[in-house]
């Protein structure tokens, strides 16, 4: 067993930001294990991605380019990647813990009968083993987990690792045929949510809760998010009230986010909401109740009416950012 592999996630031919971060984490792993770093590129017409991976510091690129791999389907990607791994026996495989990455990691682990640690937020190497720090019990506890035997599969959370930087490197990728039989799924339609900033990738999130009072109350929240080029989020109370769609929900039964800045407006900070945002770098709370639990988590707080505070903040940011 040798080599550290990083799966390069792409959507419509573009490398996802999380994969740059995985290459960053991959460097740490490869250095710690004193082994080469291999980027694994799967898709159709993805030659450019292989070059991008070299540029981001991959020592080798292993790829499969096939029309059946055009769109991600785990039952197509899984067997191809598992097949590559069976033939070449990498010691470690790293996946970004996106919807695709989590599915693919689970599939490959099942096919290889390998150990898998999911959704890590920290990574170190000790005696030839990857040690992954991950939140458990909805972020109330933290565990150090490692694979005890065989190839070590890990998936790591987005925005938790520094992205690999451009090295100017290049090379020849090694392409292998993708032998896929029948695939039992077909993607018949795709409705893009492009145009809205994705919560998972956002570096700044402004969220509204029950305190916004109704669907219209999200307008000042959106305005602040816009001036910061950030994404908008919501608490479950606001989603359950039907003021905003579920896609926006942050928390235990919504999205887990980890932006540089999280501004919670009219959100009390229930433990289930915290589960989705407590790893944010800086948390700001705007709430009219000085005793709201969100202030226990926040670095900065303003006690006041969000309908007064938000427009003032939007105006101030507008001034400073020149927009």
């Amino acid at each position: 067993m040798s080599g550290v592999w990083v799966w390069i996630e792409q959507f419509e031919g573009q490398m996802k930001a999380i994969s740059q971060e995985m290459l960053g984490a991959g460097h740490t792993a490869a250095e710690g294990l004193s082994q080469p770093l291999t980027a694994v590129v799967l898709g159709h017409n993805v030659g450019a991605l292989a070059q991008e991976a070299f540029d981001l510091g991959a020592d080798q690129v292993l790829g499969a380019d096939d029309p059946t791999l055009d769109q991600f389907r785990v039952e197509a990607y899984g067997p191809v990647l598992a097949g590559m791994a069976r033939e070449r026996s990498p010691q470690a495989l790293i996946f970004g813990a996106s919807t695709r990455g989590r599915d693919l990691a689970a599939w490959v682990a099942a096919e290889l009968d390998a150990g898998l640690v999911a959704d890590g937020i920290g990574l170190s190497v000790e005696n030839g083993t990857l040690k992954v720090t991950r939140p458990v019990y909805t972020g109330k506890l933290q565990a150090e987990v490692f694979v005890t035997d065989g190839p070590q599969l890990v998936s790591l959370r987005g925005r938790a690792f520094a992205p690999a930087e451009s090295t100017g490197g290049s090379g020849d990728a090694q392409w292998v045929p993708a032998a896929i039989g029948d695939v039992s799924t077909e993607i018949v339609n795709f409705e893009s949510s492009a145009g809205t900033v994705s919560l998972n990738d956002a570096t700044i999130i402004v969220s509204g809760g029950r305190g916004v009072g109704g669907p219209d109350g999200f307008a000042p929240v959106q305005e602040l998010a816009d001036v910061l080029s950030g994404a908008m989020g919501a608490s479950r109370a606001a989603v359950d009230a039907g003021w905003i769609p579920y896609e926006y929900q942050v928390g235990q039964t919504g999205k887990t986010v980890s932006p540089d800045l999280y501004i919670a407006c009219g959100i009390s900070g229930a433990i289930q909401h915290q589960a989705g945002m407590r790893t944010s770098k800086v948390i700001v709370a705007i709430n009219k109740d000085p005793d709201a639990p969100i202030f226990k988590l926040a670095s900065y707080g303003i006690v006041g009416d969000l309908f007064k505070v938000l427009p003032a903040l939007t105006a101030e940011f507008g001034k400073r950012l020149g927009s």
Partner: protein, 264 residues
């Protein structure tokens, strides 16, 4: 049509945890220390809706300790027609792959199901791996993060679902049998009815052990070491409440701070 719904009993969402020598225990400020995994409620609801539309049975299945009977009873009270507990001391240390093996074997043994529904993740381990791994072990079509079942045709053996992915919503047509994990958007879980609760309390839930299953690997296997578990380091922040004579002034100070923090 026979539908399986895989559920897990987990600590309640308000549970307060403590760790001593790597052993996790918890207390609940309310009176329900364990619950049906909240994500699984949506799977149970969807299974019942499929049964209401297509007839047949809805079977709640869990692998866990004897006490998991409680969560199964919740499923029966909601409207599942059967429940199966797979319980054996040898399973105690299973990782998700070990769990998936057991679930796959139990699903096979339980009859000719066409659909197995799962929650998005269990709120204890929070891995969200079991669904895919069970699908892989069964050789069934995996469909994760499903927000809507658009069409289900047991005769033709097809299903069409909408999946939520980072970039949008993907409509997928697939062949049955399928393993599906659902997200919250899919439905609004019902509360157990009074009659349902009475029926559930009287139900005798069969218990299967390792000896009852044809496992394709050693039972209770785990390739992950979880022994180092600890309380979360507290967020080392103390909140600075920004006060000033006007909101404009407050906004100015806050914006200054955020520029200093280099998060803008």
């Amino acid at each position: 049509m026979r539908v399986i719904v895989c559920i897990k009993q987990t600590p309640s969402t308000t549970a307060v945890f403590s760790v001593e020598n790597g052993i996790v225990s918890w207390d609940d400020p309310g009176d329900k220390p364990t619950v049906l995994n909240p994500w699984d409620e949506y799977a149970v609801e969807e299974a019942i809706r499929v049964q209401e539309a297509h007839g047949g049975d809805t079977v709640a299945l869990t692998m866990g300790p004897e006490s998991s009977q409680d969560a199964l009873k919740t499923c029966l009270a909601m409207g599942c027609t059967e429940a199966i507990l797979v319980s054996d001391d040898v399973f105690a240390a299973s990782d998700t792959l070990g769990t998936a093996r057991v679930l796959a074997a139990a699903i096979k043994k339980s009859g000719d199901a066409q659909l197995a529904l799962f929650g998005k993740q269990a709120i204890d381990g929070d891995t969200g791996q079991t669904t895919i791994q069970t699908a892989q072990k069964l050789g069934w079509t995996p469909l994760t993060f499903v927000a809507e079942i658009k069409e289900l045709d047991p005769e033709a053996g097809t299903i069409t679902v909408v999946r939520l992915v980072e970039e949008g919503r993907e409509t997928v047509k697939a062949a049955l049998p399928a393993v599906i994990s659902v997200v919250k958007e899919i439905n609004e879980p019902r509360y157990p009815s009074f009659m349902g609760i009475r029926k559930a309390n009287r139900a005798q839930i069969p218990v299967w052990t390792a000896a009852d299953l044809e496992l394709d690997g050693p039972p209770g296997s785990s390739k992950a070491d979880w022994s180092e578990i600890s309380a979360l380091p507290a967020r080392d922040t103390k909140v600075e409440i920004i006060e000033a004579d006007s909101v404009e002034e407050q906004a100015k100070i806050l914006v200054d701070r955020l520029f200093e923090e280099k998060v803008i």
